[in-house]
């Protein structure tokens, strides 16, 4: 490329390597105005914004840290409350279980007692019924024996009459029962 420049410069009268006065002056003026604008207007405002941003970021970080600590405290409180609630719940459950056991045991013992009473009453009832039946039976057997004896005494019995009397007696017993 440098060869090309040299060639073209030599062949066509050359490129002006010295600065043109008007370009130097106007270029410098434009640059100095731009630099002054940047120094006085642009950078102070941008730096101010950067500082605001830094302060905002710092503030938000501190705020976030405070909120984090607050959240940590709330979490600890919550966990403590939760543990207390769990303990309370366990206690209530244990109490309920104990109450249920008590109730069950009481009901069972009451039922057993009632059952025992029922059985006792039943047994007593059966026993008295049996005694009554036995007593009644005894009375009937006695009456029948007396009746049978009177019949035996009233007539001479042969073997066949004897057998018939017995059968009759049994039939009477069966019909009475």
């Amino acid at each position: 490329m440098l060869q090309a420049i040299t060639f073209l410069a030599a062949e066509n009268g050359g490129i002006n390597l010295l600065p043109d006065a008007s370009e130097l002056i106007w270029g410098t003026v434009a640059f100095v105005i731009l630099l002054a604008l940047m120094l006085k207007l642009v950078f102070p405002k941008l730096n101010e914004t950067l500082e605001e941003r830094g302060a905002a970021i710092q503030g938000r970080m501190e705020d976030a840290e405070a909120k984090y600590q607050e959240a940590e405290r709330a979490r600890a409180d919550y966990e403590e409350s939760l543990a207390e609630a769990r303990g309370e719940a366990d206690r209530i459950i244990e109490e309920a279980k104990a109450a249920a056991d008590d109730l069950r045991n009481e009901a069972r013992s009451r039922a057993e007692a009632e059952a025992a009473q029922i059985i006792e009453r039943a047994q007593s009832s059966v026993a008295s019924e049996r005694d009554r039946v036995l007593s009644e039976l005894r009375g009937q057997v006695g009456a029948l024996s007396v009746e049978l004896a009177s019949r035996i005494v009233e007539r001479e019995l042969d073997a066949s009459t004897h057998e018939a009397l017995v059968d009759e007696y049994i039939d009477q017993l069966s019909s009475q029962n």
Binding site: G13, I15, A21, G27, T28, L34, V42, F43, T49
Partner: protein, 269 residues
């Protein structure tokens, strides 16, 4: 280059397109002015530079006036440019570099925008390819780093440190002092200016040659049109390459300015 020279042989109408080459860089005055015997005429290059400078001023003033704590896209873009220069200042100069951020940003943006005129369709001419702009931009850096050196180290301290580096046998000062004088006070601004100037001149010529190649060869038959097609394909690549150079030169100028300012802040050891 060879493409252009081959134009005449292959039938391309090249005569007068680049004749003379200075016509690519020099424009007649639009308004002739003279004050106290000094030529203050205004030409196309000056107008391009003014428009570029006004564009930067308006861009940054609008950005600063509407600056908000939570930036929009436009403000974020401007802050990105400033952050780039702040990074350069802090990494090269150190903590004291903060106060040079406005200068470095102004230098960077001015050079970028003026360079960009090279491929901006309405302008197609970088003012930085005229010696005046690289020269005064380099002189600005020169004045700042010498001023900073004198302010920080005192006149004798700064120039004494430059011209008579400590820890060197005194006999060597005969050789070293002229070299240091030349290196620090002449070559630094000169190389800054020439690097930017030469890159922009070469870039402008490259862009013009690419476009002229298309203009000259594309209509020519039977062979020349192929060179024109090649120029058409090459043009976007040349423009992309020039965009890279535009940014790179602005960055290098700003970075070297920071290096020179940084070296003035600390005494020679």
């Amino acid at each position: 280059m060879l493409n252009v020279l081959a134009a005449a042989e292959w039938g391309g109408e090249f005569e007068g397109v680049l004749d003379p080459i200075s016509a690519l860089f020099e424009f007649p005055p639009i308004l002739e002015l003279e004050l106290f015997g000094v030529d203050l005429s205004i030409n196309r290059t000056i107008i391009i530079a003014w428009l570029g400078t006004i564009f930067i001023g308006v861009l940054f003033t609008l950005g600063a006036r509407k600056a908000e704590v939570i930036p929009g896209k436009f403000q974020a873009f401007l802050e990105m440019i400033i952050d780039l220069n702040r990074t350069i200042a802090l990494e090269i100069i150190g903590p004291k570099g903060t106060k040079f951020v406005p200068l470095l940003t102004t230098l960077f943006v001015t050079i970028f925008v003026l360079n960009f005129s090279k491929i901006f369709p309405l302008f197609m001419m970088p003012p930085t390819s005229r010696a005046a702009w690289p020269l005064f931009l380099a002189l600005t850096t020169w004045l700042v780093f010498i001023g900073v050196g004198i302010k920080e180290q005192g006149f004798a301290g700064y120039f004494g440190g430059i011209l008579f580096p400590p820890g060197v046998p005194k006999a060597l000062y005969i050789i070293l002092t002229p070299i240091e004088l030349l290196s620090n006070l002449v070559l630094r601004p000169f190389t800054l200016a020439v690097r930017l100037f030469a890159n922009m001149v070469a870039g402008h010529i490259l862009v013009v040659i690419t476009l002229v190649t298309i203009h000259v060869f594309l209509p020519s038959m039977p062979v020349g049109w192929m060179v024109g097609v090649f120029g058409l394909i090459a043009a976007p690549l040349v423009f992309a390459f020039e965009l890279f150079i535009i940014g790179l030169q602005a960055y290098i100028f700003g970075m070297l300015s920071a290096v020179y300012i940084g070296s003035s802040l600390e005494a020679h050891h």
